[in-house]
Symmetry: C2
Subunit: 548 residues, 2 copies
């Protein structure tokens, strides 16, 4: 039933997203935004020539002894494939032939102990280490600061790909960090279990990355955020190993799992995670509902989050995204945890599509009785607060197309159309103000640079006290699309913080959100985090310049 | 409906528990355990004379200027009332006239800024600061290490007692840390809201203590643990203020709220907490069920925790506790977050009461429809896995008597009967092993010291992946009850850690669990916590010797 497990594990090839065998057709109307530009796929990354690796030959030899010579590479083509992440600026740079941030070496450790040994060696030699699972960061999380280090190693964890243990009584599985989403689901499904974590980066991202960045999947209403699924984890640091997670919850001091989750590699490398698992659902139904306005739809989502019952998937699209969704369900309004949404088919004229109202998708997964019970109660509430049932057609269309979004960015960029996403989260009482402020900041900035944008918004994660807001921005290339987007992003970040929201809901901090993050937590909390880093990583080699 | 709000806010008087106007009758059979001892209430704490305060006069004057002269006291009677907590060893010491751990000064700050100013001053003068809300610690959390400090101040937060703000849209309330449970509930109830946090220490404990110790209340299945209710908090440190909680959840770095929750005063003083609130329930029903064995009952609880729906209150008593519960519902088997359970009326002969089986209490609170829906589904599951419905009589009896337990300890101690509790939490797959090991350790230790005990156990907090185990131990006084209990407690702690469980589920670490806690998190994580403390409290004056 769960077609997520039918998604093959593929090696994505930067700068393009996903399965290389699958190419997205650009929706016809996108050309309207692009004007009469010639399609341009940019520089072939296989042709990029890099500077010689900065890492000393003897370091390379020592690492080679640790992991075996086949598990170290300084080939340009390999280094390029570990350069930066999947934000639109990252992609634009690589398309322009710029791989200046490439790591010096790519190392593939085989187990936890090898990771600890590499961290120790790199600590002695002051070489930065970047953990790499899917490489799908959209916030610069894979681009460490080279100041003060003698080189950069990308630590690709793909060989740490085992399901170590399944505890069926406690419903937990111990998974190694390099397992990618589809592989993890396929291995668990053989035994009847699922993690239930399906971010839009699902095809590319992996367990370690989910944990290090506090990922949230499309089914978060039913299965929880990734950080809520973690019962235990193992962290390799330059000083040795930390194992956390004796029990589900405890009063034994601070919850240190929550200190490692979201640490983005700056304290060390997460090598395995003990995850809560659930039985593979036997029943699934995805309903769609229409609300007259975003405010009405948000009230409905809030009521479900506060009074229950919660569907497994719950999302609300604004008028623009709704018009695109209903016109082109596979291409619009899906959500990216790793890569950016590309929910625009250039159908900007649909922006006035107030007639479609605002689409709510409410999906239910589980046992038949329990799905029926939740669906009936939630449907009664949605009707009660003004929703009109649209049946399961649009909901199913959203479901089946939900991993297609990222594939659209590539032909859009080929056609000269800039597309990028950003997200935030706030308490319900501030949500309207945040949405208004961020929309205005993006619109004003891009209009000022001569490229009026299409700005869409959806809610895809709800909590009793608040919700996420996810923005997709589409605009024709200006003279300098990197500069164009940088200005818009700065304006959006400023608006997010000024309106009291968090700088990110599930894309993490990386380098791109660092200043705003420091503003968010304040100087003393930042000092405390830096103290933790100094304690565990005294040489400062773990993903330096990220987060803190 | 919620009679919790009918509980008056009283000033408890050490060493006895709760409302001084209320005295518990000792169940008749308790005398059997005590033999022919004379009842002895111990030394009147009002008669204890203390050594002169160690704090310099000029420090006292400076504090007096900060908070006003009426808000500082070094009177013996006040200092004695801030001495240690409510563990049975703490109580035994005070009953023996030993108040050697009394603080030198008791200070009552009026707001957050005064707390920061006091911490700054104490940091300069190297005076330890112990945050005090309810003073109900059972793990030595109020007894700092005097090595290296020039005195100890008990910072009694009772004047920080306001509901600062209620955000009805986001369903959150900002409460000051000194608010005690009943006062907080009464103030919120005026507006139709409840926190839903009802630990057995409810009459004594306060908001700041709940947060600092990761308290869990009797309704945790429905309302969550206290740490799960916290959306934001404000921490006063010697270096200034940390404010956390921009949004319900975020990917902006580690969740630093979870670093402060459970920090037991060692990073500073929590002065206010932003809590999730819920509407006051309109319907309540408490069912009782009988299972043939503890293992069968545990399986039933696990199924409810994993497959749902969860009642609001869910607990399982073993055979001994069940026999006592059904014989004397008001006095047995309730649960202590702060004070110890005293669930034994000396009816040790009921220990063979296998005929009663094992009692499950399943309580439901909420709106009428939702309660009916959850109750029907949960009842079907409980029946399905072998439960026999006992109606709502025993469940209601448990509910109405659930805050009575702690009152019984005093007459038991008067009668020479030692009673104490301890708790742990583990993953489901280890639960049986943990329960067996801890029961054996307690039984063997106390039998070896010549006082065979009655050991009872219940589960009162369930999670998808595991559950708590709460032990109540009753034994006649040996020659040295402090030594007698210390040996039993050490044996239990060793068994807990050896069987892979956490050293505490909701009583926190304090001094009593410190070594076991360090074993649980390991040396590198301990270093990280010490680094955080050194960053925020460089002089080491915040509750030194506790936790880390």
């Amino acid at each position: 039933m769960s077609d997520e497990t039918a998604i093959p594990v593929v090696q994505m090839r930067r700068p393009r997203w996903g399965d290389p065998a699958r190419t997205a057709e650009l929706p016809g109307a996108a050309a309207a935004l692009a004007g009469d530009r010639q399609a341009d796929a940019g520089v072939d990354p296989a042709t990029i020539t890099l500077a010689r690796p900065a890492v000393d030959v003897d370091v390379r030899e020592q690492i080679s002894e640790l992991v075996g010579p086949d598990n170290v590479s300084d080939a340009d083509v390999v280094r390029v494939q570990h350069t930066r992440g999947y934000s639109t600026p990252d992609i634009l740079r690589l398309r322009a032939g710029d791989a200046d941030d490439a790591p010096d070496l790519v190392v593939y450790p085989g187990d936890h102990d090898e990771v600890v040994a590499i961290l120790r060696l790199c600590s002695e030699r002051r070489i930065a280490v970047v953990p790499f699972t899917g490489g799908t960061s959209v916030v610069g999380g894979l681009t460490p600061d080279r100041a003060g280090v003698a080189g950069v190693i990308s630590l690709d964890l793909r060989r740490l790909d085992r399901v170590v243990e399944i505890d069926e009584i406690s419903r937990m599985a111990t998974l190694e960090a390099g397992l990618r989403g589809p592989a993890a689901e396929a291995l668990l499904r053989e035994k009847g279990w699922t993690i239930g974590h399906f971010p839009q980066s699902y095809e590319g991202a992996g367990i370690g990355g989910y944990a290090a960045t506090r990922s949230a999947g499309q089914s978060s209403a039913g299965y929880g955020r990734f950080d809520e699924m973690v019962e235990g984890l193992v962290l390799a640091t330059p000083r040795g190993t930390i194992e956390l997670g004796t029990a589900p919850r405890s009063a034994a001091g601070p919850d240190l799992r929550q200190l490692v989750l979201g640490s983005e590699g700056v304290f060390g490398v997460i090598t395995s995670v003990q995850l809560r698992i659930r039985p593979v659902p036997t029943t699934r139904v995805f309903d769609a509902w229409r609300f007259a306005s975003f405010a009405d739809g948000a009230t409905a989502l809030r009521r479900l989050a506060q009074d229950g019952p919660l569907p497994t998937v719950l999302r609300l699209s604004d008028e623009v995204e709704t018009a695109l969704n209903l016109a082109d369900p596979a291409g619009a309004g899906s959500e990216a945890s790793g890569p950016s949404d590309t929910g625009a088919g250039g159908e900007g004229e649909a922006g006035d599509g107030g007639s479609a109202g605002c689409l709510v998708v409410a999906g239910y997964e589980g046992g038949a009785d329990e799905v029926a019970r939740r669906r009936d109660a939630a449907s009664a509430l949605l009707t009660d607060v003004g929703g009109s049932a649209l049946g399961d057609g649009p909901g199913e269309a959203w479901r089946t197309g939900r991993f297609a979004g990222p594939y659209l960015r590539d032909p859009l960029l080929d056609a000269g159309v800039l597309v990028e996403t950003l997200e935030t989260v706030a308490f319900w009482s501030r949500l309207h103000e945040v949405r208004t402020a961020v929309t205005a900041a993006l619109t004003d900035s891009l209009t000022a640079s001569g490229t009026p944008p299409l700005v869409m918004c959806h809610i895809s994660h709800v909590y009793e006290s608040g919700a996420s807001l996810y923005f997709t921005v589409v605009a024709p290339f200006g003279d300098d699309p990197l500069e164009q987007w940088a200005a818009a992003k700065t304006a959006a970040n400023t608006a997010i913080r000024a309106s009291g929201a968090s700088i990110t809901h599930h894309h993490a901090v990386g380098r791109d959100h660092r200043d705003a993050y420091h503003d968010e937590i304040g100087p003393l909390a930042l000092d405390a985090l830096r103290a933790v880093k100094a304690s565990l990583d005294p040489a400062g080699v773990c993903n330096p310049g990220i987060l803190i």
